[in-house]
């Protein structure tokens, strides 16, 4: 089991969480934020795709560009939620850095804001991560500076990032705007963001399931992240189901070699139906279970081969609610993913 203080991201303030669609990356990001917040820390949890996944996970009203507390953590900590919208981020950015006032509204009327936020390639992503960059440098007194421990508005930031297929492009803002903005403020902002991502303050975690496609995409994303010199952190294997049968019985069950008479008498002894239909059904379900466990074991070894720290979270049988996210947060802490 990895020890948090020796982990490569022990210094990280910005945790970027990605994963294939459907792997539960928002849930994992939420759990990680709660885990980081425990013991009196203040953590910002950010989404950038306007999905309102965070507010649904925490069962609070829709989030916006206004930072809103969404949960308390044990020991006085809190998680603050933020849904970054490129348009609002641009207007805020113009306000902070250019003191635009009236111009913002004019730009909006002329479609310039739409241009910058939806069409101009890369600019949108610069704005979205730019908001995270700004929050990362914000001090308690509202001024901005390189992070100084204990002095910052947030002790940590968790970014619920785009899925694996898009995350590398999303983070590679520098390359995205390189051809377009050779100089100028957008370029400057992109450079600062890239510095932040590579400074050791940031780390990218990938969420996967033990299924073919997510594991394949995880391997692809890790390779691309490494190639793009992005700081790769942990793999979080989500929705892990413990095998119900012991290893030897799994093997026989996978082959359908089971003692049907034994099962029949077992069922009879507790007053259950002992028809062929029931016995066949149970055997078929056990076979599927055994095959699935075998596949998961195989996939788990491909995840191991990525050479990254791995943390596992169980499948939640009753769906995801705040209580469940808290449980997952504890599991991440217990496994040493956070200090």
């Amino acid at each position: 089991m990895p020890d948090a203080s020796s982990l490569p991201w022990a210094r990280a303030r910005l945790h970027i969480v990605t994963g294939k669609g459907g792997t539960g990356k928002t849930t994992v990001a939420a759990a990680l934020a709660l885990a980081l917040a425990s013991g009196g820390k203040r953590v910002l949890l950010v989404e950038v795709e306007g999905r309102q996944g965070i507010s649904q996970t925490f069962d609070v009203g829709p989030l916006s560009i206004a930072e809103t507390r969404i949960a308390y953590a044990p020991g006085g900590g809190e998680v603050v939620g933020l849904s970054v919208d490129a348009k609002a981020a641009l207007l805020e950015y113009l306000q902070i850095f250019y003191k635009l006032g009236r111009a913002g509204g004019v730009l909006e009327r002329f479609g310039a804001i739409d241009f910058a936020t939806t069409i101009a390639p890369g600019v949108r992503d610069v704005l979205l991560i730019g908001k995270v960059y700004e929050a990362n440098r914000r001090r308690k007194d509202g001024r901005r500076s390189d992070p100084v421990e204990g002095d910052m508005a947030y002790d940590a930031i968790v970014l619920d990032a785009p899925p694996t297929g898009r995350v590398v492009r999303f983070l590679s803002v520098n390359e995205e705007v390189a051809d377009l903005a050779r100089v100028g403020p957008i370029r400057g902002q992109a450079d600062s963001i890239t510095d932040m991502l590579r400074s050791g303050q940031s780390v990218v975690h990938v969420v996967t399931l033990l299924e073919d496609m997510p594991v394949q995409e995880t391997a692809d994303a890790v390779a691309q992240l490494r190639e793009a010199r992005m700081p790769v952190g942990a793999v979080v294997v989500n929705q892990v189901r413990a095998p119900i049968l012991p290893a030897g019985q799994l093997r026989s069950a996978a082959r359908g070699r089971v003692d049907r008479d034994g099962i029949r008498s077992g069922l009879g002894s507790v007053g259950l139906a002992t028809t062929d239909a029931v016995v066949d059904g149970l055997v078929a379900e056990a076979r599927d279970h055994a095959r699935r466990v075998a596949l998961e074991t195989e996939l788990r070894s491909s995840v191991d081969q990525l050479g990254m720290p791995i943390f596992s979270l169980p499948a939640l049988t009753d769906g995801v609610d705040v209580a469940a996210v808290r449980q997952l947060a504890d599991l991440l802490t217990d496994q040493g993913m956070v200090r």
Partner: protein, 411 residues
């Protein structure tokens, strides 16, 4: 009374009597509100169906569904082309797609008995965009556009470009099948957007932007200059121009201006093209198939999409719910199985106890999924639904696609 959580996918049609499932296991028919069932075979057999659009959120098996529909339609005699956007490697291999060359290629290994054919292709959005430029301008002009940095960025990285080019390619394939009779059915997978709705909106957004007044203003601010009544407008123009150049940098602004200037003379309006595509999608010959997994988020997205298609008057065929948990021992309810497992563990029969625990998990998962899909049905009582059982493994060959196709058809 039927215990909760007991349902075999594909048997939800109330009128259908109990019949053996494929594996020969007995199946209990379940009484259920008369929700219409999505009849995939009828949809594929209907020669009036010329375009099928598969849409839904990421990770729900959209591309697999599109490919499986293609195989089934082709083996039933249709001349099909499947346009995939970003298929997983193994799925691409199962269709024989080894390279991204932006051209439909015949899929080998199909049963030719029905007289149908199947071609498949992966979308290369940059190449599609390049082709549009080449087809609509002089060679010199095309060269100028293709070399423009802004064009290069827009054509390869702007998120909306993928949606736009998927629609552009769909239009091309449709034109080719109308003119040459190459295909009589086009099946399109949709890009893995932030939201399934992006795919409907993005073409219009790109179209209206490229055609919009902001770009006109960037390209020809001088035109407005002479008119007195535009003084206020002009003040705005200057403010916009100076701010844009402050924020973006003068170089980028110039690149944009060159790019738009070049495009402007070339196209008869992007907006018009986007409108045409949108109109094509709205025709009766198009069928939207929304794909979801039996999970909260995927079904919520599916609901939005169904509502949106309805609001836009788009021809919705129905919902495919993929990866539905099957129950092989439906006669036994989960709670009873758990209690019995406990008793058996105490009595030392841990194997039978484990089987019952496995069953309880399966039955509970099925019940949860049924709750979620029932909620969808309640909200959309007239939307036909078909459920596809979960497969043990991901699809990686034609046989796998055939099996998915059979499940889609409820066979």
């Amino acid at each position: 009374m039927t215990p909760p959580g007991v349902r075999q996918p594909g048997t939800s049609r109330p009128a259908r009597p109990a019949r053996p499932a494929r594996s020969g296991r007995p199946v209990t028919p379940v009484k259920r509100a008369a929700a219409p069932r999505l009849d995939i075979d009828a949809l594929l057999a209907d020669r009036a169906t010329r375009v099928i659009v598969c849409c839904g959120s990421g990770g729900v098996g959209k591309t697999t569904t599109a490919a499986a529909l293609g195989v089934r339609a082709a083996e039933q005699g249709r001349k099909v082309v499947v346009l995939t956007i970003d298929p997983a490697r193994r799925l691409a291999q199962s269709l024989g797609l080894t390279e991204l060359d932006n051209q439909p290629r015949p899929v080998a290994g199909l049963d030719p008995a029905g007289g149908g054919t199947l071609d498949a292709m992966m979308l290369d959005m940059k190449r599609t965009f390049d082709d549009v430029v080449l087809a609509h301008s002089t060679p010199e002009k095309a060269e100028q556009i293709l070399a423009n940095p802004f064009y290069q960025a827009v054509s390869s990285s702007f998120a909306g470009t993928q949606e736009y080019m998927a629609m552009e390619k769909l239009g091309q394939l449709r034109a080719q099948s109308d003119a040459e009779g190459t295909w009589d059915l086009i099946i399109v997978d949709t890009p893995p957007s932030r939201s399934a709705l992006d795919f409907l909106d993005a073409p219009a957004r790109l179209g209206s932007f490229l055609d919009g007044r902001f770009l006109r203003l960037l390209t020809a601010p001088a035109k407005a200059g002479g008119r007195a009544y535009l003084k206020v407008f002009n003040a705005g123009v200057n403010l916009v121009s100076s701010t844009m150049s402050k924020v973006l940098g003068g170089d980028m602004l110039r690149d944009v201006q060159t790019f738009v200037g070049a495009l402007d003379t070339m196209f008869g309006g992007f907006r018009e093209r986007a409108d045409l595509t949108y109109a094509l999608l709205g025709q009766k010959s198009t069928a939207f198939v929304v794909v979801a997994a039996p999970e909260r988020d995927a079904l919520r997205e599916a609901s939005y999409f169904v509502d949106r298609l309805g609001a836009d008057g788009m021809p919705l065929s129905g919902l495919v719910v993929n990866r539905v948990q099957g129950v092989a021992a439906p006669g036994l309810n989960a709670g009873r199985a758990r209690a019995a497992a406990e008793q058996l563990t105490e009595a030392g029969d841990t194997f039978t106890a484990a089987l019952l625990t496995v069953h309880a998990g399966v039955a509970e998962a099925a019940a949860r999924q049924r709750n979620l899909t029932d909620r969808f049905r309640a909200g959309h009582p007239s939307t036909p639904v078909v459920e596809v059982p979960a497969l043990a493994e991901d699809v990686h060959d034609l046989a796998g696609l055939r099996a998915v196709g059979a499940s889609l058809a409820g066979a």
